[in-house]
Amino acid sequence: MPIFSPTEIAKEKVGAVQDYSLLAGRSLANIFAQPRYFADTLLQADSVGVGSLPIVILTGFFTGAVLALQTSSTLQQFGSLSLTGKLVSLSMVRELGPVLTGLMVAGRNATGMASELGSMKVSEQIDAMRAMGVDPTKKLVTPRVIASVVMMFFLSIISDLVGLAGGFVISYFLLGLDASQYWTTAYQALRFGDVFMGLGKPVVFGFIIASIGCFYGMSATGGTQGVGQATKQSMVAASVLLIVSDFFMTRLLMGFFQY
């Protein structure tokens, strides 16, 4: 008997992609079907949104600050230190705000969802739910997907704002830039395409984070070890998928807005 069979591995991977696609599709289709779990959705929104706020604020602020700090020496060489606001603004809104917020939320919530649903799966609570005539994708997955999508949108806006604030602190106090110059260049640099990119990406990231977290949780097997494995895999898969999808979305939107 071979140690591993490439065919079996390929089948397993294709099967996992199929299962994920079905779960993700159902979680979206459930939005238009009864019953709707508003209370569960609000609870998840609180957990994902309010719960992630401190890490998103801290990450956003210091990313903006370090961005201003790192780029200042290069900009100074070209005599363009006044463009710090523009650089921080474009970088945060188009790229770093959504991506870093996505990674933070994935680290906190995709893993949380995977471990919570995984524990329910291995302790037969999900089977019990099905046995009582309740659809676990409606009750557990769809509220998490809706909450993550909506909250990622707002968390990214907050991250962008505090990132700009972080960049301002460095620019004003360390680099000696004028406050109005910083905010004016930061504001004027943004075009519709930048804002669209910055607000569109978090919606997709929110969907990826929740659907991946729920998928690994709902597929957990093998007791506590299986839950640990599912949690770890959800973090890795959500982060990688988030960055890969970011690349493709950026390319697509850059083409669309003719950058």
Binding site: P35, M120, S123, E124, Q125, D127, A128, R130, A131, M132, G133, V134, D135
Partner: protein, 281 residues
């Protein structure tokens, strides 16, 4: 044949014909890495309790999960309450499952919900909240398992035996047509096990609910076969006064994924199959 089981009018089926078996397995097979169930065929008549016995890993729990449609067989047909679950979509199964109660091996209570919310889970799904009527029904179900006082506790605050009893209350609150018990006494001490079996017997004799019961404990199986619930005394009593009683119990023994025996307790005790003799000893 006289039955000393309480004469309670059997609830009318919400789905199937009254004379049809509530569960039918026809040549059911399922395999994972290796065949687990092979050519399983049996039926569960209305009002009967079938006790599934067999060594660990012979597929007893699988039979319950297949009956509920939680798993699909590789081959064969499963008909529950007149509907072929093997052909049904998951969405359609949710409706059918509302007529079936299941007690899971480890209770499977929702650990973030109170006992009341757990027991009322199905009803809350329909109404969205705990109404006065639902609260009264929860208390009634908890009274049946003698755990009224735990209504506001969380599962983590209960002992193993109490959790099983709450799981029974959760399964019976909607008065399902079929009850599936997956090792309801597994891992419990003899006294608690006896309490659980008494509840199963009470459900069988008071409500005459059709049931499949998986157990590893022969003692539980024979207790069920030799006792009935006396409603006057409000307790389980042995059926040993010489009267012939129909306790609506049948045994079904599995070995290596196949059924090797199906019959009554008396037939089981007379069976000469060497494996069964060894199993019983």
């Amino acid at each position: 044949m006289s039955s000393l089981a309480p004469q309670v009018e059997q609830p009318e089926s919400r789905i199937s014909r009254p004379d049809a078996p509530v569960i039918t397995f026809e040549n059911v097979e399922i395999a994972f890495d290796h065949p687990v169930l092979e050519n399983i065929s049996f039926h569960l008549p209305r009002g009967e309790t079938k006790i599934l016995l067999g060594a660990a890993g012979t597929g007893k729990t699988l039979i319950l999960k297949l009956a509920l449609g939680l798993l699909k067989p590789d081959a064969g047909r499963i008909i529950v309450l007149g509907q072929e679950v093997t052909q049904m979509r998951e969405q359609d199964l949710f409706e059918l499952r509302r007529n079936i109660g299941m007690v899971f091996q480890e209770s499977a209570l929702f650990d973030s919900l109170t006992v009341e919310e757990n027991v009322a889970y199905r009803l809350i799904e329909e109404t969205g909240r705990i109404t006065d009527e639902i609260h009264a029904r929860v208390l009634e179900a908890l009274r049946f398992v003698e755990l009224e006082q735990t209504v506001n506790l969380f599962p983590a605050e209960l002992s193993g035996g109490m959790r099983r009893r709450v799981a029974i209350a959760r399964a019976i609150i909607t008065h399902p047509e079929i009850l599936l018990y997956d090792s309801p006494t597994g891992g419990l001490d003899p006294v608690t096990s006896n309490t659980i079996i008494e509840l199963v017997v009470k459900q069988r004799d008071v409500y005459q609910t059709s049931s499949l019961l998986v157990t590893h404990r022969l003692q539980d199986a024979f207790t069920m076969a030799s006792h009935y619930f006396d409603r006057q005394e409000n307790k389980m009593v042995p059926a040993v006064d010489g009267n012939v009683r129909d306790l609506h119990n049948k045994f079904l023994i599995l070995r290596d994924g196949k059924i090797i025996f199906e019959g009554t307790a008396a037939e089981l005790l007379r069976c000469t199959d060497p494996y069964i003799r060894e199993y019983l000893s």
